[in-house]
């Protein structure tokens, strides 16, 4: 870097030490940032990849560090791990940590992430009941699979289904209890939900939709049974709760930062308060093609916002907004989703779900706005590109697997 960016000597304090923060710290140095970078994280581990926690917790690939520990030292990034930020004074531009120490900042980046939504029923504190967010959680889940034979999963979202897939591949009995009428109700189309339900059922997972958990019973402090609203009960050895996440926006709200189900940010990761930015799962952010703002719990969103924050800190233009995307691995299916699925789209199926290789294109007036794909990278990559470029496609040609997706482009 021949010339330093604006504010290259600013002292940047980052609260939270996950994917967004690790990315931000590296990108700041890449961009020629010379000022101090301090990352405060309440977990003792260096930032790690969270996707393997639900996908690979049963094998040796669980611990994947985003950067090796030496990286932060070499990049002159101060990692204050095992510390918790307790308050922010945005006027004096100071952060206080749990030891009582205060530190000054020129730019503060909130990357506090989210925490698992608890199951609000009696017995949720029994041993053998847990959520999945941290490496510690994943290690505990692994011991359950080693010891138990019957796992009940509350919540038929991506985390729950990924865990169910791993459990079944290890011969552990898995039951998924979903409150809504279908799996992945919040995030996937009706069509993809149906395909995934079939796939999980074929693997021997019991799926119960419209199932409301009302209580957990245990013996000797350990969970043994799940009770449902219809009066039925399920025996179990462990319960994994995957019913969504709550943004950790308390610190921001107390500091006077506007929040509404998360920290509100713009296309430059700016919050309502001068000098305070926010990135990652804690944010409620603009999404291209959608009105209003929403929370996107995904790594591509976190890394995009890290790039936005670097631009804002250095006084550069906001980067071009990117098409949101997500991935999930279940069994031999590599699911990749781009765009945001809404119920009013036309759906075009390309490929055959039975073969495990297919894509569901969601069109609004002939223009792709979302694509849900399994083992279909060309379709995913093409769809993501089309969504960003607002390309019109021919649904009949798109559905024909004997023609290249390129042939479907009309204008």
């Amino acid at each position: 870097m021949s010339t330093a960016p604006a504010n290259a000597d600013a002292r940047v304090v980052v609260i939270g030490a996950g994917h967004a923060s690790a990315t931000l710290a590296g990108l700041l140095r890449q961009a020629g940032h010379r000022g101090e970078i301090v990352v405060i994280g309440d977990e003792r581990d260096h930032p790690y990849h969270r996707p393997p926690l639900s996908k690979k917790f049963a094998d040796g690939d669980l611990e994947q560090w985003i950067r090796p520990a030496d990286f932060y030292r070499e990049q002159d990034v101060t990692m204050r791990l095992g510390e918790r930020a307790t308050s922010v004074d945005p006027i004096a531009r100071r952060v206080r940590v749990d030891s009582g120490e205060e530190m000054a900042y020129d730019a503060l980046v909130l990357a506090t992430g989210a925490r698992p939504r608890p199951l609000p029923v009696p017995g949720a504190d029994l041993d053998g009941v847990g959520a999945l967010r941290t490496l510690g959680d994943a290690r505990e889940l692994r011991t359950w699979l080693d010891e138990g034979r019957r796992l009940v999963i509350v919540g038929g979202g991506y985390i729950g289904l990924e865990v169910a897939a791993v459990a079944r591949s290890r011969g552990v009995g898995a039951t998924v209890l979903e409150r809504e009428e279908r799996l992945l109700a919040r995030v996937a189309s009706r069509e993809l939900s149906a395909i995934m339900a079939e796939r999980h059922a074929a693997a021997g997972t019991t799926i119960r939709t419209g199932a409301q958990v009302v209580g957990l019973e245990g013996s000797s402090g350990r969970v043994r049974q799940v009770t449902l609203a219809d009066g039925s009960a399920l025996d179990c050895d462990a319960v994994l709760v995957g019913v969504g996440a709550i943004p950790n926006d308390g610190l921001a709200a107390e500091a006077g930062v506007d929040c509404d189900g998360g920290v509100l940010v713009d296309e430059g990761a700016r919050t309502s308060v001068d000098g305070v930015l926010a990135i990652g799962d804690v944010t409620v952010r603009p999404v291209p093609g959608l009105d209003g703002r929403r929370r996107l719990e995904s790594i591509p969103s976190a890394t995009e916002q890290a790039r936005q924050a670097v631009a804002t800190i250095h006084g550069a233009e906001d980067p071009t907004p990117e098409v949101p995307w997500f991935w999930s691995d279940q069994f031999d299916l590599k699911l990749k989703i781009a765009g945001i699925v809404r119920p009013d789209h036309d759906v075009v199926l390309r490929g055959d779900p039975v073969t495990g290789k297919f894509a569901l294109f969601h069109l609004a007036d002939g223009v792709p706005v979302a694509v849900e794909s399994a083992n279909a990278s060309p379709e995913f990559m093409a769809g993501k590109k089309w969504i960003g470029a607002c390309v019109r496609v021919d649904p009949t040609r798109l559905a024909d697997p004997n023609r290249s997706p390129r042939d479907a482009v009309v204008s």
């Binding site: 996707p51 090796p68 093409a382």
Partner: protein, 106 residues
């Protein structure tokens, strides 16, 4: 340790020692070079670690898989030397290889 040269989007070259068994992506990420984003962490899911491998070293790396080819098909700035650097595992025979990182990895 094999030396890999990375030509990054601003045109500068960086020579990095990459341990045998690690990927070309690992070498870039480890040294905080710009251009290789590696969003998915190297699981061949995202195509944000796309590089062009210098022709004379193309054969030093393992064959391209169908999955990698599929991801590259619609990536930006693709050419016949395109690879995903997370899939380029470094061996002793890769010493001196040069890769160019396009300015389109996100």
């Amino acid at each position: 340790m094999p030396e890999i040269t990375y030509v990054v989007p601003d045109g500068t070259s960086h020579v990095v020692d990459v341990p045998v068994g690690q990927s070309v992506m690992d070498g870039s990420v480890r040294n905080n070079l710009p251009g290789i984003v590696a969003e998915c962490g190297g699981s061949c899911s995202c195509a944000t670690c796309h590089v062009h491998v210098d022709e004379q070293f193309a054969a030093s790396f393992g064959e391209i898989t169908d999955e990698e080819r599929d991801l590259l098909e619609y990536a930006e700035d693709v050419c016949d030397r395109s690879r995903l650097s997370c899939q380029l595992v470094v061996t002793a025979g890769c010493d001196g290889a040069r890769v160019t990182v396009p300015d389109s990895n996100g």
